[in-house]
Amino acid sequence: MLQRSRRTWVLFLLPATAIYGTFILYPLVRGVLLSFTDNTGGPSSNFVGTEQYRKLFDDPQVVDALKHTVLYAAVVLVVQTGLGLLAASILARRPRVRRVVSNILLLPALISPVMASFIWSYLYRPDGGINAFLGDIGLGRLQQVWLGDPSIALFAVAAVNIWMFVGYSCVIFLAGYAGIPQDALDAAAIDGANGWQRFRGIEWPMLAPALTVNVTLSLIGTLGVFDFPFVLTGGGPMGSTSTLTMLIYRDIFTRTDFGQGAAAAVVLLVLVLVVSSAAGSLLRRRERAI
């Protein structure tokens, strides 16, 4: 192996370390420190201990936002991964249409969340596309004020998120399917295993890495979700779609309460780290067990 001087390596690492350290790590650490102060964006601030966190958890809006964030992540995770797996398992057996169908399904993932929200905010209007469609096919009683009803608005927002990324999830599973040796499936078929048995016995275990990727990506994306609720509902109606990110945005950029916003950000950080590392170690253990 080629020996390079220490100086050479430092030279290569310097730009990345400087940028990453200054604009990611430093704000990360400063954010944690800010959360123990009453900073409002000015140069001076006082140390207030855990006061910001106490205020945070005394606020029913914050507790609700935390619940919404977790519920949203869970719904998107389950439905999106489930539909993606379903689509992939159908397409894996149909090589002639696999590419064209998965590319069509992938189209929504190219649309930005803002634009997807534009489209759906019209479809969701009381006089919009979905209600018109339901009326046309004689299901008028299913018509809803999709984004105006606190009991369904969060799910309506999650549906847009799911719609965008099912194709993404499907393509990741298809990549997993591509790694399953055809011999294994053929052997199982010769041994008389039916489709479900082959899925349970061969495909599902061998898709473990693809599942890990899907779950991880989905969790990271949904726990930090902002654009969909921000554009579609602005957190309403009656706070029913407000998430942790929306609270952080409100605290910092409309109330300029940096201390409070930093505390909410720390809560989000802990949530993401705990949930994603728990899911990660669970899934990796599963991968190894297989």
Binding site: I24, I119, Y122, A210
Partner: protein
């Protein structure tokens, strides 16, 4: 996966598929032909189902050429008179050309910085096996899981104190920092596969480390660079919150931020809303059509490892 797979009785297939599975006893020509017809039919159905799935998008496309009265009278109908007026209004409303130009500039410069800075860092991280380099690699990878909202407050204070608010340069720096983790991740796993003999040969020929890197290693990374840059371009082009927070002047802002600021989806007519939405995705769709393969792998790589 050829016709022998058609005996598969799969849990997730639609009923039609399961019916087909019973026909497959080998033998004369007729069952085979029937089996094939059924297969074709299912394939056509799948394509139709996929088109229905992206229906909201196709609907938007059609409606963007219709007049407001036309849509109000029959939201789901086919267009009767086609018009480009909606696009003219939208282009003005969201300052489309200047916004798109800004977004292109930001995307191009961010991509440049992300690939150069990230690949340079990945080179030693992949080549040195020491506790320090592993720790540094982990530190970069940690950034993959941290949502931008965790740091947005302190980042705002920092950018403000550096007088980089409302500056395109500031935005490029932010995007570079935010995307370094994914860049380091991609490049490190790639450099590990490049044999070190190449560099040794270059060193013996008297080629300095920087020149070795930029003339030998970096060009070898072209496939991973392509993948990374499609991913990053999507991120930068589609991002809303960074330009919204860090740029105040609409003249410097991007399509997404200006669309959000100037087009309220709750009050606007669909005729104003839809062209805005489509103009926002247009450049990406053109790229998708050209670089289909790279985009798909850019969006999904990491899954196959």
């Amino acid at each position: 996966m050829s016709s022998d797979m058609s005996t598969t009785r799969h849990p997730s297939v639609p009923p039609a598929r399961v019916l087909g599975a019973d026909v497959v006893v080998s033998g004369g020509d007729r069952p085979r032909i029937r089996r094939r017809t059924r297969r074709r039919l299912i394939e056509i159905l799948l394509v139709v189902a996929a088109l229905v799935y992206v229906g909201p998008f196709l609907f938007t496309l059609l409606a963007s050429f219709r007049t407001a009265g036309d849509i109000a009278a029959d939201p789901l109908g086919l267009p009767r008179h086609l018009t480009l007026d909606n696009y003219k209004t939208s282009v003005q409303e969201i300052h489309y050309f200047s916004s798109a130009w800004n977004a292109v500039l930001l995307t191009v410069f961010s991509c440049l910085a992300i690939s150069v800075v990230g690949s340079m860092a990945a080179y030693p991280l992949a080549r040195i096996t020491s506790r320090l380099s592993t720790a540094m690699y982990r530190m970069f990878i940690l950034g993959l899981t941290v949502p931008v909202f965790v740091i947005i407050g302190p980042l705002y204070l920092l950018i403000r104190d550096l007088h980089l608010l409302d500056s395109r340069f500031g935005l490029v720096v932010i995007y570079t920092a935010l995307n370094l983790p994914v860049s380091v991740f991609f490049y490190t796993s790639f450099v590990r596969q490049i044999p070190a003999e190449l560099e040794e040969a270059a060193a013996i020929d008297g080629c300095g480390p920087l020149r070795t890197f930029f003339t030998i290693i970096f060009p070898l990374m072209r496939p991973v660079t392509g993948t990374l840059l499609t991913f990053v371009s999507l991120q930068v082009w589609n991002n809303l919150v960074i330009p919204l927070v860090f740029l105040q002047d609409p003249g410097k802002s991007t399509v997404m931020a200006n669309a959000y600021s100037f087009a309220d989806p709750h009050t606007l007519q669909p005729t104003q809303l839809f062209p805005a939405a489509l103009l926002g995705v247009l450049p990406l769709f053109v790229l998708f059509l050209i670089f289909q393969r790279q985009v798909v792998s850019g969006m999904t790589s990491g899954a196959v490892k």
